[in-house]
Point group: C2
């Protein structure tokens, strides 16, 4: 059972800079009836991810831009309230991205949903540590692309964030030395004392980031895990060791820019150091998702990995919450809780 | 036997833009006596390479900057006229880079020289097709980093140049489809009719390079071999296929810039397409040099590979010749012949 109308966040205009409630407005809209193969999800949680900012632009990316007038595409977790797909029945919990959005109800193809059915973990873990952005991304980004090992120095950007905090812990488990870049003393303490990073740099308070990295990484950076782009990437490039690997996972510093953003001014260092930049695309590893998730579950059971969630309550707070991603006010993976199970 | 004085091209000031004879001047200088382990080479040919422009700047690179007042570091081929190294005797022909320079005589460590002793090929081939820049660079760049194969589309920048012409032919031998970017109709004809490229784009006459590439590469570019950087790199990035490989071999469009040059404005495409950028560093393959050269020799014997040399006569013409590298006036690998054998 579902209503005919619902509240949803609709893209009214392409944002310039940080999205505002002028760009994205909470409106009443229809709940579309499911066609054959579709289900209707009553959304419980929205995942707030940097990639969504890119989809708000009219640019070439791995998914098409969100159309003006459409609700904001989002990975959501919800409960099935109507099903025309053989794998789902009413009451099931499911997670997916395809046509899910910041709205109370998403009518979406069942083929693109994953059933959530493991009593051992809270369902919303499938938007955090057992989900794509916080689980699979750092898993494949670090293990397949970064390839940490004993003797290697890893520099982690956005080290207290959803991806960085997990990627850094994975690098530690692989025996690497891990230095985290983050934006407050509190977060520095968190990643060192709680997550076990070897050291931290508060990029907001250092005089010279290039020198600060050089001091903490005297033999150079073997693996730079880039969630940020911009000046931080340049500072990292100037500290690359020979044969370094740069995992290109995101560029949050650039998502709110108007118009084309220049690539790193130190791009030349990639050649000078014989480095490799690896653009991350999880889909390449789709066959390995179940194995990766089993691996992460095992780490959770053995308490080998810690993660921080930052859950904001209420659909009406979604855009305000989303802005926190870019100001760094969040502490861990950002979710909006929109309904109780 | 060697004189006490010689003519040499000395760096007087760091060039802004294209080097001029104000920046680099032909002067008389001493011929240094060899210490133990060194030889004196009477230079026969200078190799003119884009990397030298980078060494003229005061920037971090894979070799230190050329000091003001020092002769211009260069790979040269010469005849040994004095030897204090057990592997070399007077009359030997040798090639090397270490302290070799644009000068009549280079006093240089024998350990960093390679003896040239194969009657089958002209000695100066060791600065062209059997040398580092024109032979080993496209060999390892294409085979190890680019990894062409049947069904793959290769886009080659500076396709009529020393590296591009050979890298493109290697990709053809590996079964890939190869499209060349070059700057004149004459060069387009050369790479298609003489070198066997599948197609060519004259980047100087197309209205929109992004569209021109899209037209010739309708399924996207699987391997972009970058010798150029700048706008051409951006146009290539916008045409990458999923999982594309970008071989970063050079960035000749940026070498004459003053100050830091922004990286590609389309850097984001590396993430959007899950692409990999591979900075080339030949030294990584040093153990494989003899194998690679044997491979290239075999291609020459079987007439499987063609190459163009552009030889300028006279040490006094070195800087003028060097400028041709950046204006595209050269046809093939540029050498300066400074003396007869």
């Amino acid at each position: 059972m579902y209503p005919k109308e619902q509240r949803q966040w609709v893209l009214k205009q392409r944002p310039h800079g940080l999205p505002t409630t002028d760009d994205i407005q909470l409106e009443m809209g229809p709940v579309r009836e499911p066609e054959e193969g579709e289900v209707v999800l009553r959304n419980l949680y929205f995942s707030l991810d940097p990639a969504q900012r890119d989809w708000m632009n009219d640019t070439v990316s791995y998914l098409p831009p969100i159309e003006i007038g459409a609700p904001i595409r989002s990975t959501t977790l919800g409960q099935v309230v109507a099903s025309r797909h053989k794998n789902f029945k009413e009451g099931d919990i499911a997670v997916g991205l395809a046509t899910n959005a910041w709205q109370q109800y998403s009518t979406t193809p069942g083929d693109h949903l994953d059933l959530v059915d493991e009593p051992e973990f809270s369902p919303h873990y499938h938007l955090t540590i057992l989900g794509g952005a916080m689980g699979l991304t750092p898993y494949f980004g670090m293990l397949r692309l970064g390839q940490p090992a004993p003797g290697k120095t890893v520099l982690m950007s956005a080290a207290a964030g959803g991806v960085g905090s997990i990627a850094g812990q994975i690098a530690k488990m692989e025996g690497a030395r891990v230095i985290g870049l983050t934006g407050s003393q509190e977060k520095c303490d968190f990643i060192v004392n709680e997550l076990g990073f070897d050291d931290a740099i508060n990029y907001k308070t250092v005089d010279n980031l290039v020198e600060a990295i050089a001091e903490k990484c005297p033999n150079g950076v073997d693996i730079y895990y880039d969630n940020v782009g911009g000046e931080m990437l340049d500072a990292a490039l100037l500290n690359l060791a020979k044969g370094a690997r740069v995992v290109f996972c995101g560029a949050i510093s650039t998502y709110n820019a108007d118009g084309p953003v220049p690539g790193p001014y130190q791009y030349w260092q990639i050649l000078a150091k014989g480095a490799t930049v690896l653009g991350q695309m999880n889909l390449k590893y789709a066959d390995e998702y179940p194995m990766a998730l089993d691996h992460i579950r095992q780490w959770l059971r053995e308490d080998k990995i810690k993660f921080a969630e930052h859950i904001i309550e209420g659909i009406e707070n979604t855009v305000d919450a989303y802005r926190m991603l870019f100001t760094g006010e969040n502490n861990g993976k950002l979710l909006v809780k929109v309904a109780d199970l």
